[in-house]
């Protein structure tokens, strides 16, 4: 199982180590540093690195490498999933996950890691339960602790651990009973030169924030459940009910959790909400190129597209760009050759555009790679797949909860080739 964990920052310093079995010398990370040096960018460091006696599995998040050391045959996905869980937990505990924050809370981090793994076996990874065992630091609690000498380690057995619903603690009480569900969809798409879709798929999740007293039993049904190609549930969802009736039936964990993630890939169902008109030309002879892009709405079901952001990695031969946007602000970094344009909202009457010229390296032949345009955007109150929640019911408790459902569509990896 998982032997040790090293946290390494992007300049290659190990700033935290934790061993769950015998101590593994940090020199094992030298193999990792080698790989880090070879990779051009931090993202390209391979996640599995063999060394003569160990294997190093790593994830890269928040500019920190989380490197797990294993010695025997352990499913790598298991380790990688766990590492991501560690990052999520840190984020949950401290708000952000960064080197200074981890250093500031090193004792809590250490206690949390100790609770998450025992001898390399995962122990408590649900943040609800962890928080019962080790309370997250808050300014108020630190002050109170210092004055009263009390601790931030819970001294009760986490109640949920043993029941049939290990994800929920007993004796939950709220004065306002509320249940909110956010349906969030991300479109991953590749659009080719001519504007037709090469591939498009939707990754959707339903994130919930449930604050209900007692042991509520909820059911959530959809208007059009058949849309979903593949679903992954939180362990609380009763799989049988979904199989037979396409209804989500569950006793929710307390607080925030991801109820469901789903995948819609059937091509014809994926509506593409924006289009990009582009005209980028490098002329062979002169050292000037033309650049022009326009962004416009396509299938938005009448909703506004906001938070539009266009980024593009320009070829190396581009020295500088002189552009004028019709709205928003733009920057071009002549070192990284990254063009970004913060567009904002799209007004269908007056489409935003960015026009101008590029100065190219004199004498060099015209760049052979075409820049790909990366698009980010948000659409509120729309699930682009058309998924709609039908109703939410509660059983097992008598009070009447306040219910709310929100929809949102975002761009995931949305790329337009030119």
């Amino acid at each position: 199982m998982i032997h040790s964990l090293f946290l390494i920052n992007s300049s290659g310093d190990i700033f935290l180590e934790k061993h769950w079995k015998s101590v593994v010398s940090r020199s094992v990370c030298d193999y990792f540093f080698e790989a880090q040096e070879r990779a051009t960018e931090a993202e390209n460091v391979p996640p599995v690195i063999p060394t003569p006696h160990h294997y190093l599995l790593s994830v890269y998040r928040h500019k920190i490498f989380f490197v797990a050391v294993i010695q025997t045959e352990v499913p790598p996905l298991f380790v990688i999933e766990f590492l991501h869980r560690v990052v999520d937990t840190f984020q949950d505990y401290f708000g952000v996950c960064s080197e200074p924050v981890i250093k500031d809370n090193v004792v809590v981090v250490y206690e949390v890691l100790e609770e998450m793994l025992d001898n390399g076996f995962p122990l408590a990874t649900e943040s609800n339960i962890l928080k019962e065992l080790i309370k997250p630091p808050t300014i108020l609690r630190t002050v109170v602790n210092t004055i009263t000498g009390s601790t931030n380690v819970g001294d009760q057995l986490p109640t949920g651990q043993l029941s049939v619903v290990p994800w929920r603690r007993t004796g939950v009480k709220y004065t306002n009973n509320e249940a909110y569900f956010d349906v969030i969809e991300e479109i991953d798409a590749i659009i080719d030169k001519s504007g037709s879709t090469v591939t498009a798929e939707i990754q959707g999740v339903i994130d919930a924030c449930v604050k209900l007293t007692g042991m509520p039993d909820l059911t959530l049904s959809f208007m059009n459940p058949r849309l979903l190609d593949d679903v992954s549930f939180h362990p609380c969802v009763r799989f049988k009910r979904w199989e037979s009736e396409r209804i989500l039936s569950f006793i929710p964990p307390d607080g925030n959790f991801r109820l469901l993630s789903y995948h819609v890939s059937a091509q014809n169902l994926v509506a593409i909400p924006v289009y990009v008109k582009h005209n980028i030309s490098f002329r062979d002879s002169s050292s000037l190129g033309r650049f022009e892009i326009t962004v416009g709405p396509k299938q938005t079901m009448g909703k506004t597209i906001e938070g539009v952001m266009v980024t593009s990695q320009m070829p190396k031969g581009v020295l500088n760009m002189s552009l004028t946007p019709s709205q928003g602000t733009h920057t071009f970094d002549p070192v990284t050759k990254m063009l970004s344009w913060d567009v904002g909202k799209i007004n269908p009457q007056k489409l935003p555009s960015l026009k101008g010229t590029m100065s190219l390296q004199a004498g060099a032949s015209k760049p052979d790679e075409n820049p790909t345009i990366n698009l980010q955007f948000k659409i509120q109150q729309l699930a682009i797949s058309g998924l709609k929640v039908n109703r939410l019911d509660m059983y097992g408790e008598k009070y009447k909860p306040f219910k709310g459902i929100k929809y949102m569509t975002k761009a995931g990896k949305f790329q337009v080739r030119t």
């Binding site: 180590e17 993202e43 391979p46 298991f78 076996f121 601790t151 380690v153 593949d230």
Partner: protein, 919 residues
């Protein structure tokens, strides 16, 4: 107020100050001090000097303080074992605390303290905790057994913890079941032969029930365990599949992949006509696709596994091509994997799309990726015939870009296309020739030269082109030189009149001016062919070449089947069987897919199915890379009694050569004779199994030497008997021998004496005296000896395993008192126990037989009807080995306990015992 304050140092000396604070009366101050200590520990500072002071803080009601002290203990107990004992009392007390959280915490922490002395005290509390009323404590205790096993395996077995752990599989709480399975799996991994997870339909049923209710991590353990089970028939397989399928909808990708493994494996047993089979196939696709939308690291592992799945069952993902399309900001390792899978899925139906994508990729920035994309276009052409023309024109477009590396890759793949579709696309040769000058990579140059040679008759200036290459002949890499040689010979055969000079030039360059034996040999062959029989030369050199197969890099089917059983593991990421990389071959059990069976028939368990391994053989004796070879030798050689699992294996040359030509020469094995104890010369009868064959890379076909070993008759000293057979066509002279450094410093005591030249097919037997004064290097396995034999033709390398008893010296008899003291003095973990089976001798006979091989009996006792022989022996390098041999009259199995300060020799001493006693 953050923890960073714990890192601040003062000038006075941090340790000193902490010490004072730890001994403070104020609770709060103590806790702060412990926190500082922990903080220093996490960043790798050594704070072990504070051990006694920190341990003093352990007796507290404050749970946080207790936990912090525990954290400290786990880290430093190993370096301060004596001090750690001080903590034991508190642990034992905590194990009886009314609060289950504290009980669990205590048992958990105790297991993490890797100090032998503590483990003894751990047993009783652990036994109680394993039967605790609270499942939280039970589940923690289950893991603790695995920890303890890691520290002291023998203790765990003796205390019966393994059985208790097995009972926990039937526990009422699913988490306990999951942890018990996890612990057992981990223990089983270090004991591949043990039958710890003995699965039967009842236990499977319990696991499946627990599967639905336990945590995600528990589900992974249980699924991985299920995958090792072989259902008795297709109905059972189907019912397990039905209960595992819901796991495909889990949010944790590791659960999904483990479930996929179980399904892929058990599907093998289902009949393809079954409706359920089709349903299952359909259910597998969506979760695999979803894995690709996870974080890039997860994607990478998923893609490596999908690569296997696609090869085994292409039908699952055949409609999902698009999800493998590359996004430009994917990490490079994801891009390359996606590309690989795209080619595997390419078919007539989707080839247009794939090609459009590949062309897009070929203009990206990353060089590695672009190269692979270009290569992929070529592979598509070869795989989908209808698309070949489109592929070729795409490649030509790419060549027009004049981007250097793109052109080179394109030429390499076009060569393959020519081979697959001869006489179809030769019209493009002209375009290729235009780019001749820009080629600077050996592979591309070689490919271009091949094309020119192959189509010499259509290229008007072929001779000029090749002559151009010939100018810098000596600076070219071997690959290019060989191609150039062949190409010019082809040219000569096609246009003999104009190119005579050229061919002579290349032949003389290759044969006279080159140091490379491959090149020289090939040069000579062509030369002789051309000079003796040009017609035959034409037939040979211009023979019709076999078509190349459609897919060049498919994984070999048996390996693929094995890898399918390892979906989700490191093996699947590396596409190598675990035996190829798991450290020391430890824990390697070959797995194979279950055979398809009808309802009534029963099948062998997969563990007994590995190909060719003779039953009863201990797989770990043969070094991993020699598995196949060892088996072959054993099958091929002499009487079964004479083949204890000792085998020679070739280290560098691998098994291919042996299979190719060497089997007939495997007459005997290398044989070593122990220096006999008294004046009676001991002959070890039949040769010890194993053998050596010609370890000679026969690319040129010039000659081969074969050596083998026969039973020797040397007396008094160590010697090695070699039998050298010349299988070459040439006389061999100037023999010399050299040993690589080895574990016991074995080295030839005299030069290798081969008096007369060895003519073809002649055999000579030599006895080479050895001494043990050579330089020492620890080998793996310990008794491995790497030898080089040189003669006028070449150097031949082989390696052999020698029996250890040749190294037992005559003064190996220990004094009785000394024996007792030494036995006690050697720590228990150095003791190894073995069974010697089927040895019908009585104690006296055993004793005298062993004595003749310098194993001395010091004392004999009779305990409860069993004869106990206490024996000692000494190795040439002064290592003493103490042995206790338990013989039960009438029972042919003996128990041998060995104690030695260097425990790694035990295994080999045991083999020596076996060999001596059975001869």
């Amino acid at each position: 107020m953050t923890d960073s304050k714990y890192f601040t140092t003062t000038k006075k000396g941090e340790i000193f100050e902490l010490k004072a604070e730890l001994n403070s009366d104020k609770k709060e101050k103590k806790k702060e001090a412990v926190k500082k200590v922990i903080a220093s520990m996490t960043v790798g500072k050594d704070v072990s000097a504070l051990f006694p002071d920190v341990v003093n803080c352990m007796q507290t009601d404050n749970l946080e303080l207790k936990k912090l002290v525990y954290l400290y203990l786990m880290n430093y107990a190993k370096s301060q074992p004596d001090m750690a004992i001080m903590a034991v009392n508190t642990f034992v007390k905590d194990c009886e605390d009314p609060n289950p959280l504290i009980r669990a915490l205590a048992v958990r922490t105790m297991g993490c303290i890797r100090v032998d002395k503590i483990t003894e005290y751990l047993c009783e509390p652990l036994r109680k905790c394993l039967k605790d009323e609270d499942p939280y404590v039970r589940k923690t205790a289950a893991v603790c057994v695995a920890k303890l096993h890691d520290i002291n395996a023998q203790l765990v077995e003796d205390q019966g913890f393994l059985d208790t752990l097995k009972d926990l599989i039937s526990d009422s709480n699913p988490m306990v079941v999951a942890n018990a399975v996890a612990a057992l799996s981990e223990i089983a991994e270090s004991h591949p032969s043990s039958n710890l997870l003995d699965l039967n339909p009842q236990s499977i049923n319990k696991l499946l029930t627990a599967l639905n209710e336990c945590t995600e991590w528990g589900q992974i353990f249980i699924l991985d365990c299920l995958a090792n089970y072989t259902p008795k028939d297709d109905r059972e397989a189907q019912s397990i599949c039905e209960r595992v399928t819901p796991r495909l909808s889990h949010a944790n990708s590791a659960v999904v992949l483990s479930a996929v493994k179980v399904l892929m494996k058990f599907m093998e047993m289902l009949s393809k006509d079954l409706d359920y089979y089709g349903t299952l196939l359909k259910k597998l696709a969506p979760p695999l696709v979803t894995l690709l939308s996870a974080e890039p690291e997860l994607q990478y592992v998923a893609l490596r596994n999908i690569n296997l799945i696609v090869q085994k069952r292409p039908e699952i993902l055949k409609h999902e091509m698009k999800v493998f399309f590359v996004k430009y900001n994917d990490p490079i390792y994801v891009k390359l994997e996606k590309l690989d899978i795209m080619i595997r899925l390419a078919s007539q139906a989707n080839i247009a799309q794939v090609l459009a994508e590949l062309k897009e990729y070929a203009t990206e920035v990353d060089v590695d990726f672009v190269r692979k994309a270009v290569r992929a276009i070529g592979r598509c052409a070869i795989k989908v015939e209808q698309s070949a023309e489109r592929c070729v024109s795409t490649l030509l477009d790419l060549i027009q870009t004049k981007v250097n590396y793109v052109v080179q890759e394109a030429i390499v793949v076009i060569k393959d296309i020519f081979r697959k579709y001869p006489n179809k696309y030769e019209s493009v040769i002209a375009t290729l020739c235009e780019n001749l000058d820009s080629l600077d990579e050996p592979e591309a140059r070689a490919a271009m030269i091949w094309i020119v040679g192959e189509y010499a008759e259509r290229i008007d200036n072929a001779d000029e082109l090749l002559e151009g290459f010939l100018e810098g002949f000596h600076d070219e890499s071997t690959q290019v030189q060989l191609q150039l040689l062949t190409a010019i010979v082809k040219l000569f055969l096609k246009k003999p009149t104009e190119t005579q000079e050229l061919v002579q030039q290349v032949l003389s360059l290759a044969t006279q001016d080159s140091d490379n034996p491959d090149l020289r040999d090939r040069g000579y062959i062509y030369w002789r062919l051309l000079s003796t029989d040009p017609v035959a030369a034409k037939e040979v050199v211009l023979a019709e070449k076999p078509l190349i197969s459609e897919e060049t890099d498919l994984i070999e089917p048996t390996l693929l089947d094995e890898l399918i059983c390892y979906i989700g593991t490191l093996a699947s990421v590396y596409h190598k069987p675990p035996s190829a990389f798991v450290e020391g071959g430890r824990g390697v059990v070959h797995k194979s897919l279950p055979p398809r069976t009808a309802s009534s028939e029963s099948t062998e368990s997969p563990e007994t199915a590995p190909a060719g391994a003779p039953p009863g053989e201990q797989p770990d004796v043969i070094p991993a890379q020699g598995d196949l070879l060892g088996d072959l030798l054993n099958l091929d050689l002499g009487p079964p009694v004479s083949s204890p699992p000792l085998a020679t294996t070739s280290v560098q040359m691998g098994a291919v050569d042996l299979l190719g030509g060497g089997l007939d020469s495997l007459i005997g094995g290398p044989n070593f004779v122990a220096p006999p104890a008294a004046t009676v010369p001991a002959s070890l009868g039949a040769p010890i199994g194993g053998g050596l064959s010609d370890l000679f890379d026969l690319t040129s076909g010039v000659g081969t030497l074969s050596g083998s070993y026969v039973a020797p008759k040397a007396v008094g000293s160590i010697s090695m008997d070699l039998q050298l057979t010349n299988k070459a066509l040439q006389v061999m002279t100037d023999f010399a021998i050299q040993f690589n450094r080895n574990s016991f410093g074995l080295a030839p005591a005299a030069p290798l004496q081969v008096h007369a030249p060895l003519s073809p097919n002649q055999t000579v037997e030599i006895s080479l005296p050895l001494n043990t004064v050579g330089s020492v290097m620890k080998m793996e396995p310990l008794n491995n000896l790497q030898v080089a034999v040189k003669n006028n033709i070449d150097v031949f390398y082989f390696s052999t395993l020698y029996p250890l008893h040749i190294l037992f010296v005559e003064d190996g008899k220990m004094d009785r008192q000394m024996f007792l003291a030494t036995w006690k003095d050697i720590p228990n973990e150095n003791e190894a126990q073995f069974q010697i089976r089927d040895c019908p001798l009585n104690a006296e006979a055993v004793s005298s037989k062993l004595q003749s091989s310098n194993i001395f009996t010091i004392a004999k006792r009779n305990v409860e009807g069993q004869d106990m022989l206490y024996q000692s022996l000494k190795l040439t390098n002064g290592i003493w080995v103490l042995a206790e041999l338990r013989i039960q009259p009438g029972n042919p199995s003996f128990t041998l306990s060995l104690k030695c300060r260097a425990p790694e020799v035990s295994q080999h001493v045991y083999q020596a015992y076996e060999t001596i006693l059975k001869n």
